[in-house]
């Protein structure tokens, strides 16, 4: 928004954003389109898009004159009515693309500099031309939120949308998602979608789709190929395998983690091999890990009972055990501790977590131990301190990732409050979240 003074002058001169204007300032004349004031920067600077395409900011001070040359574009994106489905070839399988956020197709309006996301199948197909040879697509945006604004309620909503399409007979489903919490949603869908008969793949993009280098093209292309042609009936992510545009990795939804803030190959499998390598141009699918559910004719069931009152607490030197009292006051029903190393928490003096852990367990609430090392398994008895924790009834969650343990405990608490039953379920391998055999090659994959 421009400053009040500028707004008044624009109004007085009947100038709208998008009009072509002439600005006189210090005996110099500038002509171009009046741009909307972007959120950052000085609101008393006029932003003018010059005829050569550049934007400049001119301070609106005493003596500056602005006049309208002619009316211009309306700087707003008009939503066209879009079709939901596009059939390229009746012989091809038809897949579903469900949007929750993040963009596949972007359109740049060079007249105004605006970038607009589009979720129409036509635009997706234009952005990713190989799709025509892979599958017919149905595309629908069910929500449009930033990854960091995802919530357990929205996981449920997403799960229901996916299930609907799976049971409607689509060959597979792609869910587009912002990348930051993509692996939480992947875990949530993994637990909630029971008896899955086909692949459900989460895809994000690390470099926005308005750039010629965006990873979205290969990611969606590989994902489409994977859901249309593989027999892996699992929830997984499909994202770049390396920094190059050569292949994507399909990684199990409970074993994947975002390990880099910005690289294309940020999504890595932890404690196991990726399920498959999907080559982009040759469209070859190479299975890496044979431990997966196969395609079937079953109908998926959404088991969407969740209790989000679970805390994830990271151990660190100086952690004040009183933090647990806060959560107890707020009626939290479960705790996942991201412990150090093999599963340690402080046990000495005023920093010892043991009294709190004991209190929580006595209240009949679960305490789950995972490791902030991420790689490797926690161990209940190796050291004295571990034994002290173990004796108090905490649940050592094997090699389950901390975030996955959080989601799993929410899901379990949606089903039972019985501590023994919770413990049993926590140690049951529902969706590949526990790998009973970690091999040497499973580190830093």
């Amino acid at each position: 928004m421009y400053s009040k003074i500028i707004q008044d002058v624009l109004k007085k001169n009947n100038i709208k954003i998008g009009d072509f204007v002439r600005v006189k300032k210090d005996e110099s004349v500038y002509e171009g389109m009046l741009m909307p004031r972007i959120e950052l920067g000085d609101t008393s600077c006029l932003v003018i898009k010059l005829n050569n395409g550049y934007n400049i900011g001119l301070k609106f001070e005493k003596g500056v004159k602005i006049g309208k040359i002619k009316g211009g574009f309306e700087i707003a994106h008009k939503h066209k009515k879009v079709t939901k489905k596009i059939i390229f070839d009746k012989k091809l399988p038809t897949i579903s693309i469900i949007g929750t956020g993040g963009t596949i197709a972007s359109k740049v309006d060079y007249r105004t500099g605006g970038v607009y996301a589009s979720f129409s199948p036509e635009d997706i197909a234009m952005q990713i031309p190989d799709l025509k040879k892979i599958a017919n697509i149905k595309a629908e945006e069910v929500m449009n939120i930033m990854s960091e604004d995802m919530t357990p309620e929205r996981w449920i909503e997403t799960a229901k949308e996916v299930a609907q399409d799976v049971n409607a007979g689509y060959k597979g489903v792609i869910v587009t998602h912002g990348t930051d919490t993509l692996h939480y949603t992947a875990a949530a869908l993994s637990f909630m979608l029971r008896d899955l008969p086909c692949p459900v793949v989460l895809v994000g993009t690390q470099r926005s789709s308005d750039r010629g280098s965006s990873d979205v093209v290969m990611n969606i292309s590989c994902a489409a190929n994977f859901v249309a042609n593989s027999d892996v009936a699992e929830v997984c992510t499909v994202m770049h395998g390396t920094m190059e545009d050569d292949y994507c990795l399909a990684v199990r939804g409970t074993k994947v983690r975002k390990m880099h803030t910005s690289r294309r190959d940020a999504f890595r499998p932890i404690n196991e091999q990726p399920l498959a390598k999907i080559y982009w141009k040759s469209r070859k699918i190479e299975i890496f890990n044979k431990n997966y559910r196969k395609r079937s004719d079953s109908k998926v069931k959404v088991d969407a009972k969740l209790n989000p009152k679970v805390a994830l607490i990271k151990c660190h030197p100086g952690l004040d055990p009183e933090i647990f009292d806060f959560y107890l006051d707020k009626k939290y029903k479960g705790f996942v501790i991201e412990a150090t190393g093999l599963g340690h928490t402080p046990t000495l003096g005023k920093y010892s977590l043991l009294p709190k852990v004991e209190k929580i367990v006595k209240l009949g609430l679960p305490v789950v131990i995972t490791s902030q090392c991420l790689y490797g398994r926690v161990h209940p008895t190796l050291y004295h301190n571990l034994r002290e924790l173990s004796r108090r009834g905490v649940i050592f969650a094997e090699d389950t990732l901390p975030e996955v343990a959080l989601v799993k405990l929410m899901w379990i608490l949606g089903h039972t409050r019985n501590l023994e039953r919770i413990k049993k379920m926590m140690l049951t391998n529902y969706s590949g979240e526990i790998n009973p055999r970690i091999e040497p090659k499973d580190f830093l994959v």
């Binding site: 300032k25 210090d26 110099s28 004349v29 500038y30 972007i38 950052l40 920067g41 000085d42 600077c45 932003v47 010059l50 050569n52 395409g53 550049y54 934007n55 400049i56 900011g57 001119l58 301070k59 197709a105 972007s106 359109k107 740049v108 309006d109 060079y110 007249r111 500099g113 605006g114 970038v115 607009y116 589009s118 635009d123 234009m126 952005q127 990713i128 470099r207 308005d210 750039r211 010629g212 280098s213 965006s214 093209v217 290969m218 920094m243 190059e244 545009d245 050569d246 803030t261 910005s262 690289r263 294309r264």
Partner: protein, 481 residues
């Protein structure tokens, strides 16, 4: 050829790399010294849809080639930013200040807020698919012998990656040049000038940039684009003229080409080293630009501009006047030394050693060229300190100006010996007045009865390069009287 009649219209876009410590949007060095890539990353690029759902001609053309881009990564010279794997860092302040200096030297207006734009490229030379560029100055001019040549804009931008190999399906780029700060200076339409004059204008712009002492020198650090059109023709953009001295030839040849083809098409052509051009792609439509959103606009406050203005280097016009009036250089010599790569050194030597400026200028603009041209002496091996020693010897009268070519030649061949050693070994030390008198008397005695001219000749053959020749003439004349 009468270019006025032909209706020659040209526009210049001059690019110069800035000699900053780090790149425009990351901490990598701008040195470009590494030879071996440590990694090669293969990538594809795709067209970006525009609001009209029409991928413009140029972009589509490139896309259809279905290329794989191979990016060579170099230690210290490329990081995650160049590989489009990390968002850009804040704008390099050193580069911004140099660009503002150049804009102010060209009498530009500086916007109060600078907006970084993304200019879409689809030839793969920028890993992200676009080049970042921002206007730092507008509506300026430079003076060209009393006329004002309009400078439409001065932009600061990131250099693209340099291409090192290409075949039908692959293009290989080095990432060390990507992100090096570059200024782009655009002129208004130049109408009524000859190709030579347009080249001269390009020189002046180059000199203005160089006066900041913060632009890179040498091959590949300067690139010019020239738009050429004649009456009834179409605008043709010739890209990448690497040498200033080629501009007039490029224009002449392009005019000839346009006259010889029946229908001139709007297109982009690349300059070859001999001044001819080759077709590269159709001319893209209006600039495909949209705002960079990773970092906010950059406010420019008045205090910053005032501070930069206070420390602006001397303009080339003032410098020319000073050279002619204060240093007593001829107009021709002034023009030559101002264009020379040795300009900075020339000024330093004249100031420090107080030797005759014309002598110093002549060494730089003609002696070195002659040595290179006639005797193929590799004068580029001479370092600044060698010239300093030489002119110090001249100042202390240990060597005569006539001896300079021989001494420089010796120095190139014996780079480890100080200049003075060469002077001694060549027997070119200055002869004292007493010694000269002794030699003159001896020669006169031996050649009694010979003509004055002959005797002077005999003497000169013994003392050439070691005394002032007018001294020999004066003494001989006096003794023969």
């Amino acid at each position: 050829m009468d270019y006025k009649k032909l209706g020659l219209k040209c526009g210049l876009e001059i690019h110069r790399q800035l000699d900053t410590k780090s790149k425009l949007f990351c901490g990598c060095t701008t040195k470009m010294m590494e030879k071996k890539p440590v990694l090669i990353i293969k990538r594809k690029q795709h067209p970006v849809l525009s609001e009209l759902s029409e991928i413009d001609v140029a972009a589509q053309y490139e896309y259809l080639k279905d290329k794989t881009f191979h990016y060579q990564v170099f230690n210290n010279e490329s990081c995650l930013v160049e590989t489009d794997s990390e968002p850009i860092h804040p704008l390099n302040q050193e580069a911004l200040e140099i660009a503002l200096q150049i804009a102010l030297l060209m009498n530009c207006r500086i916007p109060e807020e600078l907006h970084i734009m993304r200019k879409n490229l689809i030839d793969g030379s920028d890993v992200s698919g676009f080049q970042r560029t921002l206007i730092v100055g507008l509506n300026g001019y430079i003076e060209y012998y009393g006329k004002k040549v309009k400078i439409t804009h001065v932009a600061l931008e990131e250099d693209a990656a340099s291409i090192v190999g290409e075949d039908e399906k692959n293009k290989t780029y080095k990432l060390n040049r990507l992100g090096v700060p570059l200024v782009e200076i655009g002129t208004g339409l130049l109408i009524g000038y000859t190709p030579e004059e347009i080249q001269e204008i390009a020189y002046l712009i180059g000199m203005t940039c160089r006066s900041t002492e913060k632009v890179k020198r040498g091959i590949g650090t300067v690139r010019q684009d020239v738009n050429v059109s004649i009456k009834n023709g179409a605008r043709v953009e010739v890209k990448g003229v690497q040498e200033l001295g080629l501009i007039s030839k490029v224009i002449q040849l392009e005019v000839q080409r346009q006259m010889s083809v029946p229908r001139v098409k709007k297109e982009v052509r690349a300059a070859n080293l001999d001044g001819t051009t080759k077709f590269t792609r159709p001319l893209p439509g209006a600039a495909r630009m949209y705002p960079e959103t990773d970092i906010p606009p950059i406010p420019i406050d008045k205090k910053m501009i005032q501070r930069i203005k206070k420390h602006l280097p001397e303009s080339w016009i003032k410098k020319m006047k000073r050279f002619e009036k204060k240093l007593n250089l001829s107009e021709e010599l002034t023009k030559q030394i101002i264009r020379s790569d040795y300009l900075d050194l020339f000024e330093k030597i004249v100031k420090k050693y107080r030797v005759n400026p014309s002598v110093v200028a002549n060494v730089f603009v003609s002696t070195l060229k002659d040595l290179k041209k006639r005797e193929n002496v590799r004068v580029e091996k001479l370092e600044d300190k060698d010239f300093e020693e030489l002119f110090n010897l001249l100042k202390e009268r240990k060597v005569m100006k006539e001896a300079i070519p021989e001494v420089l030649k010796y120095k190139v061949e014996h780079p480890d010996e100080p200049v003075i050693v060469g002077v001694k070994k060549l027997g070119l030390e200055v002869i004292s007045d007493d010694e000269l008198m002794r030699i003159v008397k001896e020669v006169i005695k031996k050649n009694k009865g010979q003509l004055e001219g002959k005797i002077i000749g005999f003497i000169m053959s013994r003392v050439r390069g070691r005394v002032k020749s007018e001294n020999v003439v004066r003494i001989v004349k006096r003794l023969l009287k």
